[in-house]
């Protein structure tokens, strides 16, 4: 019996339901076609989530390295494009995260998005399909295809459903990312002219044999592309604008999945394919990462806008990711992967909470809040857990990621590690400040007196994230131990550089 092409199902399900909404639901004359579109979107994302859970169950964690659920078909021979899917442990969790966050986003925005709800759902389904595609593709060009096309739905989401300054933010977001990815494209082409294949497993054998100078150029070119996505300062300036202007669900996807694409690309492409250059340039990226952590934390401290503060905290947290990856130690990379997953959950929860507050008060200014806890006790608890996760309190998922990353950096460079460690203190400062100002104190704003606690759909959206934060924090071992084999495989080439 041939195996079920489960990855294709995960990829095509949202794509086909998006097409269904576009071509059939939108054209129908039924008066409640909007409700119909909602049902289609929810059902499709639930089924995608179930398929990814099936992946989680069926995945063979004990097998050494190697990609599983591989599907390979020829597509465009002249340019080396194949339909080549397969996953390892790292991509597995991100695929699950994409499916989960999409469902949560759709639930959270059903009652909050007022205009063009069908198109909104369509964009999210497309986004989900492209993210899953990017995380599961084993052909470099296919990866680039998804990496790039994600811009389209995200651009539209920010531009159509965003805040007052959305046009500026959307164009900035698009052009920044597009600028980065053309460098990626050129290095792709260069690799293909030398290697004549785009299959990632084969390229990890071929590309490391390139000379150091070539590797260095390729590394820098791809680094720009991925650094814009992550983002690492000085390529980060699109992020605060995009986050602040994007609708809540857009921010969640942006912070939860899109930023992780950069880190994932480092793990999938830069590290295994360009080992010599990575080993040589890793120290600069470590310095850049610690700079990112401190700089972004300090900037976050000065923000008066809740979303902007969380956006900058994302930059800081992604600093631990890049730091952990380029420590080139097992524990550092494990921490980085864990940090990506946990940040995906934590920042999504935080953005959802800001969205929930915004729905009630129509402002993101911290000063306009105060004393919300007395009116919204359930939210206060959930906010507390997410906030503590963001700070990195032991017992939450944030702690494990940051701790492991810093431990990894310590093995390489003490000074950088100490600087990065300061980031945790700064993180506690701004997050606690945010929580204190918003949740406690006198109620100065009369609007707050009429606040209602969480609606049932808001609970549904937030609860799984908060449960995951605690779950990851309490039993991190279940996840971290699955990283062992792929990370060891990744680092095998680096033994010769030590």
């Amino acid at each position: 019996m041939s195996e079920l092409p489960i990855l294709s199902i995960c990829l095509l399900l949202p794509l086909l339901s998006a097409a269904y909404i576009a071509f059939f639901v939108s054209q129908s004359r039924s008066p409640n076609k909007q409700a119909y579109a909602m049902y289609v979107a929810i059902l499709s994302s639930i089924f995608t989530l179930i398929s990814t859970i099936y992946l989680l169950i069926k995945f063979d964690y004990a097998s050494d390295g190697g990609y599983q659920f591989v599907e390979r078909h020829k597509w465009v021979k002249t340019i080396g494009l194949e339909y080549y899917l397969g996953i390892d442990v790292i991509s597995l969790y991100f695929i699950f995260l994409s499916a989960l966050l999409t469902l949560i986003c759709i639930i959270a925005s059903l009652f909050t998005v007022k205009k063009y709800i069908k198109e909104f759902l369509l964009c999210f389904l497309l986004l989900e399909a492209f993210c899953i595609g990017a995380f599961s593709s084993l052909n470099l060009l296919l990866f680039f295809l998804f990496f790039e096309v994600i811009l389209v739905p995200m651009y539209l989401i920010i531009g159509i459903w965003g805040g007052e300054n959305r046009i500026y933010a959307s164009i900035k977001f698009f052009i920044y990312t597009f600028f980065g990815s053309v460098f990626f494209l050129i290095s792709l082409i260069y690799i293909y002219t030398k290697a004549h294949t785009f299959s990632i497993p084969e390229l990890t054998q071929i590309v490391p044999t390139f000379s150091l100078a070539v590797q260095r150029n390729l590394f820098i070119a791809t680094f720009i592309a991925f650094a814009v996505k992550v983002p690492i300062p000085p390529f980060h300036t699109w992020l605060p604008d995009a986050h602040v202007q994007a609708p809540t669900a857009g921010s969640v996807m942006l912070a939860g999945i899109l930023l992780k694409l950069g880190g994932y690309a480092f793990l999938r492409i830069s590290l295994p394919m360009l080992p010599a250059a990575s080993a040589e340039l890793a120290i600069y990226i470590l310095i850049l990462s610690s700079f990112a952590i401190i700089y972004a934390s300090l900037v976050a401290l000065a923000q008066t806008d809740m979303k902007k503060m969380i956006a900058y905290s994302s930059v800081a947290h992604m600093g631990y990711v890049t730091g952990g990856i380029f420590s080139l130690t097992k524990i550092g990379i494990q921490g980085a992967i864990f940090q990506m997953i946990s940040h995906g959950v934590i920042s999504s929860a935080l953005f959802l909470i800001v969205g929930i507050l915004y729905e009630r008060n129509h402002t993101k200014e911290i000063d306009k809040y105060g004393g919300v806890a007395s009116k919204m006790p359930i939210l206060a608890v959930l906010f507390m857990i997410s906030m503590l996760g963001s700070i990195g309190l032991p017992g939450t998922s944030g702690f494990i990621g940051e701790f492991f990353s810093i431990l990894g950096i310590f093995k390489v460079n003490n000074i950088v590690a100490v600087i990065a460690g300061f980031g945790i203190v700064l993180g506690a400062m701004y997050m606690l400040k945010l929580y204190k100002r918003v949740m406690f104190g006198e109620i100065t704003n009369q609007n707050i007196l009429s606040f209602k606690d969480l609606e049932i759909y808001e609970m549904l959206a937030l609860a799984p994230l908060v449960i995951l934060i605690i779950y990851f924090g309490l039993v991190p071992e279940t996840i971290i131990k699955t990283f062992n084999l792929p990370v060891e495989g990744l680092l095998k080439v680096y033994d010769s550089f030590k």
Partner: protein, 468 residues
């Protein structure tokens, strides 16, 4: 002798369609009926061209040749011409303008000029074809007789075009004077770098002559006319200039480079390389501050011609192939965009600015979505056809180590993404200030946009088997 004329039959049929249609239109009051039958005859002619032999057959003492290349390009050019005619008819219908058969006849005559030039292997014949194409083009640009802008555009086009025609004629006379022949192969043997001496006069001749062709392709530094003419000329004529004419002239350029200067790489390559780089820079930077959409498309044409020229500088069959598919993808996108513009704005498409398309997506969802897909394809985003065209082109250029041009290419494509995005932004993100007038859906325009967008979407799936 009769055999010669059978080879020439597409051209003869085309001229018959153009002139007889004009004659009938004088007596028949229902012009659009005549145009419909012209379109049907042209479609039949496409089928006729496609069944002509793909091996090389020559006539009139080897000065007129048909082969697979000419067959493909003639069919393509004629298909674009048909689309142009349909768009003209529907534009007149939407904007309640009087429909005139002269436009159709002129378009067909211009296409006839392209046909002759594609097949010619003789400079004199080539010049006749190019001039026929250009003269009909000047008339097309002036077609909107009630508008000063249109006359001004036509005059500019005519003056510059005539000047460049003179220059290329001067080049031809140089070539003739120094080689003693007007025939491609004879000139090619004299230009052969393997021969002992290279003739400076011939080199000057070829450069002058190539400038004339680059002018018609609106490549920088011969691009000056493009934005002005595009802005002033009627939109149907602009569609013709930016699609049919560009494809045709590209085929002619291929012929000239293949058969005259093929081995003599340095002069042609350097000239075209400079033209490619300049076109990309000017096309990308010039468009940023434009308000008029037609003018913007003019710069977009310059930019994309620059990309196509990269393919030509590579001097390899893959490079040529990359240039051909890129040009095809671009022109199909461009014709789709113009069709969208007409369908969205009706008579206002004639001088459309960004103000006119503000927030138009809220009322005309389908067409706005189609225009968005075309714009994303022009930016070069996967998985649309534009990306694959650009990717293949850059791939060939990197393989040939043309790094400078590739760098300019990617930089300009980032810059260009700004103004393509501006169109999407204006349609979707900004709320409209002015009342949008309802324009009835039109079947012909719908068909053209549908074909265009389908091509853009499904091209990656048949790119594998796509060979010219």
């Amino acid at each position: 002798m009769l055999y010669n004329f059978t080879i020439l039959s597409p051209e003869l049929i085309l001229i018959a369609i153009a002139l007889l249609g004009q004659l009938i239109a004088v007596y028949c009051k229902k012009t659009h009926r005549v145009i419909d039958s012209t379109v049907i005859l042209c479609i039949a002619l496409v089928a006729f061209i496609l069944q002509m032999p793909s091996f090389e057959v020559s006539a009139f003492h080897d000065s007129f040749v048909i082969n697979g290349f000419s067959r493909f390009f003639k069919a393509l050019v004629l298909m674009f011409t048909i689309a142009n005619i349909i768009m003209y008819r529907d534009f007149c219908k939407i904007s309640n303008n009087e429909i005139k058969h002269e436009f159709v006849s002129l378009t067909l005559l211009s296409t006839l000029g392209i046909f002759v030039s594609i097949s010619s292997r003789d400079l004199l014949l080539l010049f006749c074809g190019l001039e026929l194409q250009a003269l009909a083009g000047y008339a097309l640009a002036a077609f909107n007789t009630s508008s000063y802008k249109s006359s001004e555009a036509a005059l500019k086009y005519f003056v510059l075009g005539a000047l460049l025609s003179c220059i290329s004629l001067l080049g031809m006379s140089f070539i003739y004077g120094f080689s003693g022949s007007l025939h491609y192969t004879t000139i090619a043997t004299l230009l052969d770098p393997a021969a002992n001496s290279i003739n400076v006069g011939l080199v000057i001749g070829v450069i002058l002559f190539l400038s004339g062709i680059l002018f018609k392709l609106s490549a920088a530094p011969f691009h000056m006319w493009t934005p002005d003419v595009y802005e002033g000329a009627p939109i149907s004529a602009v569609t013709y200039f930016s699609t049919t004419q560009k494809i045709g002239v590209l085929a002619i350029l291929f012929n000239v480079i293949h058969f005259i200067v093929w081995d003599y790489t340095q002069i042609s390559v350097d000239l075209i390389r400079i033209a490619a780089g300049l076109s990309m820079i000017i096309g990308a930077l010039g468009a940023i501050r434009q308000e008029s959409l037609k003018r913007l498309m003019g710069y977009s044409t310059i930019l994309n011609v620059g990309y196509v020229l990269i393919g030509i500088t590579l001097h390899s069959s893959e490079g040529d192939y990359a240039a051909q598919i890129y040009m095809m993808i671009y022109t199909i996108g461009a014709i789709g965009f113009f069709a969208c513009l007409i369908a969205l704005l009706g008579s206002k498409a004639e001088d459309a600015t960004f103000r006119d398309i503000q927030g138009i997506a809220s009322n005309r969802k389908t067409i706005a979505a189609v225009a968005t897909i075309i714009m994303f394809s022009m930016i070069g985003l996967p998985p649309f056809a534009g990306f694959f065209g650009k990717y293949y082109l850059f791939y060939q250029a990197v393989a040939a180590k043309e790094f400078v041009l590739v760098f300019i290419g990617i930089a300009s494509s980032v810059v260009a993404s700004f103004y393509y995005l501006k169109i999407i932004k204006t349609m979707y993100f900004i709320d409209s200030e002015i009342e949008v007038e309802r324009i009835p859906t039109n079947r012909g325009l719908f068909l053209i946009t549908l074909i265009s967008v389908c091509f853009i979407l499904i091209f990656p799936f048949f790119m594998n088997n796509f060979r010219i």
